[in-house]
């Protein structure tokens, strides 16, 4: 993990030489720590997962070999079925309305196919080529892939959601912890969830 930090520091240092006047910032990235945001309003529940590639498929470089691509596709398929990732109490009567699954976070939430198109390593070279860094460069230079999954639900009985369990930890054995930010009309809170206690208790929080 440290190595990766050093690489990204090196990369950002290299970029900084050519773009000294630019605001420079690099997104944080931590292996073993996935992020999950849960928002509840009215009858709607939204889930947003941001999981480092290492936690899902064990690597974070661009999948190029057939076996790597197969791994990524298999992982994306697992994300397609939300029951592999988390489960809501049946009594809450929640129905999936919309979901978006993808890899590598961009502004426009790419879906599966897109990640095959662009080659991240080329992005690094690009910096040497053109001087007019646009806003995107800061993010694109990150060579870590990240799984992004967004699920929206509509629930018949939202107050019944007293606990959310995460089969995620068994679906992806490489996974570390999940940092959960939760917000409802009552207020916000946060959780750290790990495989040994794969659930969050939401009693009195909705």
């Amino acid at each position: 993990m440290k190595k990766n930090i050093y690489y990204s520091l090196l990369i950002s240092a290299m970029v900084s030489v050519s773009a000294a006047e630019e605001t420079r910032q690099v997104d944080k990235h931590e292996h073993g720590v996935g992020e999950l945001n849960i928002a509840i309003e009215g009858n709607a529940v939204d889930f947003e997962f941001f999981i480092p590639g290492a936690d899902i498929v064990g690597f974070e470089y661009e999948a190029k070999t057939e076996s790597d691509i197969a791994l990524v596709n298999a992982a994306l398929e697992k994300f397609e079925k939300f029951d592999n990732i988390f489960s809501l109490p049946e009594s809450s009567n929640c129905n999936l309305v919309n979901s978006e699954i993808g890899i590598n976070q961009d502004d426009d939430h790419d879906d599966h196919d897109e990640h095959d198109d662009h080659d991240e390593h080329d992005d690094h070279d690009e910096h040497d080529d053109h001087d007019d860094h646009d806003d995107h460069d800061e993010y694109d230079e990150e060579a870590h892939n990240e799984f992004v999954a967004h699920y929206s639900f509509n629930c018949g009985n939202i107050k019944e959601i007293d606990r959310i369990s995460f089969p995620y930890f068994t679906t992806f054995p490489n996974s570390g912890e999940l940092e959960v930010q939760f917000v409802s009309e009552i207020g916000s809170t946060s959780f750290e969830v790990e495989g040994d206690e794969p659930f969050i208790d939401l009693k009195g929080k909705i």
Binding site: A39, I40, E41, V183, T189
Partner: protein
């Protein structure tokens, strides 16, 4: 009969028993006060800010941002520019924002620059808002509104004139531009009580001659001239943000955290507070652990005292036996003694606890802004007491069994 006997026996050893009771009550009180402090601290922290969806400040850890913006603990890493703030205000997800500017002080109390919307938007303990007790909110540039605590501790009234100091621990005052107290707020039990509130324009005004970070010698812009100036702030410390829909909070948070022009951080107050509590929780558990060990130690101490008293009480027991007490009665007597001691200790510890809490409450409130709620004991405390009594009976079994052997072996003649 047995009760009376046991009680008189205890009474005969008043000093030793008294000391044991004192030791046990102090340790029980220690445990209960740690528990009380920890629950009070938690509720007083969580009650401090509600209905604010995001807090935005310069790039910092979420806990740090929460501490300096809401609790006025520690300092801001940086300020954010007014331009970035305006960018944030113009986002369509945003319902309302309240800018705040910190950094100056008055006699140790933090001065906060904000706008009038703060008073209607800042909510605590669910949906309570800050309300004015005396006077009115700032109308004039040099009006200042005081938190209840500030007014009380400094003895200020409406119309009192005061001078803001530059920075938090400095000796340079903004004495060329005195303020006048226009309003005093009702007590809230939040850090607002200990805050001196002025308008953002006032913060800008007092720094007109301080553009280099220190007072420029010889330069003194007349107040009339300052009043004519454009006093739009150039930067602010943080902003409280409310969104139109909770479902867009995280989207807005991401936009702020990735805002390319300036390094900013947006936090969900409740989430950051919970994060802080996970850190504090370790220390809490440590304190609780220590007090449990202290209770255990005193229990062992009680057993030790009972053991050591056994030898000197062999005659007493021989007399009991002579009066017709069975060896089991001897066990019963000793266990009864333990129950007596523990019940007395519990009662005494509760009395002690309320005395200590009543004595310390104003001091804790004054220094740490934590209002310890002195209320009747919770059911949880009863469980603790029950466990304690059972533990003390168990502990007393050892000396009781020994006494049983003594009484069987000795009978009525003591072979010392």
């Amino acid at each position: 009969m047995l009760l009376k006997l046991s009680f008189s026996s205890l009474y005969a050893r008043l000093v030793t028993v008294g000391m044991t009771i004192l030791a046990i009550s102090v340790s029980l009180m220690l445990y209960m006060s740690v528990e009380k402090l920890r629950t009070s601290a938690y509720t007083s922290f969580t009650d401090t800010i509600s209905q604010t969806d995001l807090i935005v400040g310069a790039r910092a850890s979420s806990v740090q941002l929460l501490l300096y913006s809401v609790f006025r603990i520690g300092n801001a890493t940086n300020n954010i520019t007014w331009e970035s703030y305006l960018d944030l205000v113009s986002k369509e997800e945003v319902d309302w924002t309240v800018p705040i500017s910190l950094g100056d002080s008055h006699k140790g109390f933090r001065v906060m620059g904000t706008n009038k919307e703060f008073f209607s938007r800042y909510k605590y303990r669910g949906s309570q808002s800050v309300s004015i007790d005396k006077g009115y909110l700032f109308e004039d540039l040099y009006d200042v509104v005081l938190g209840a605590g500030v007014a009380e501790k400094l003895g200020y009234k409406i119309g009192t004139s005061l001078v803001v100091s530059h920075g938090l621990q400095s000796f340079s005052d903004h004495d060329d531009q005195p303020f006048r107290v226009s309003g005093i707020l009702k007590k809230t039990g939040t850090p607002v009580d200990n805050t001196v509130i002025v308008s953002l324009a006032a913060i800008e005004a007092i720094h007109v001659d301080w553009s280099t970070g220190a007072k420029i010698p010889g330069q003194l812009t007349p107040i009339d001239e300052i009043r004519e100036m454009d006093l739009t702030p150039k930067n602010i410390t943080a902003a409280l943000v409310g969104v139109k829909s909770k479902l867009t909070i995280f989207q807005l948070q991401r936009w702020i955290n990735e805002y390319p022009e300036e390094a900013m951080t947006a936090i969900l107050p409740g989430a950051a507070l919970q994060e802080l509590w996970r850190v504090v929780g370790v220390i809490e558990n440590l304190l609780l652990g220590i007090s449990v060990v202290v209770i255990f130690t005193t229990l062992v101490g009680m057993a030790a005292i009972m053991f050591s008293s056994l030898s000197e009480r062999r005659r007493e027991m021989a007399i009991w036996r002579a009066m017709g007490a069975s060896p089991f009665t001897v066990i019963g007597l000793l266990m009864l003694e333990a129950i007596f001691i523990s019940i007395l200790s519990i009662t005494f510890s509760v009395v002690l606890l309320f005395c200590v809490l009543n004595l310390l409450q104003p001091w804790i409130d004054y220094n740490y802004g934590i209002l310890v709620n002195i209320e009747m004991l919770a059911i949880k405390d009863m469980y603790v007491f029950a466990v304690f009594i059972i533990a003390s009976i168990t502990v007393s079994l050892l000396p009781a069994i020994r006494a049983y052997w003594f009484s069987i072996n000795d009978g009525m003649t003591i072979k010392l």
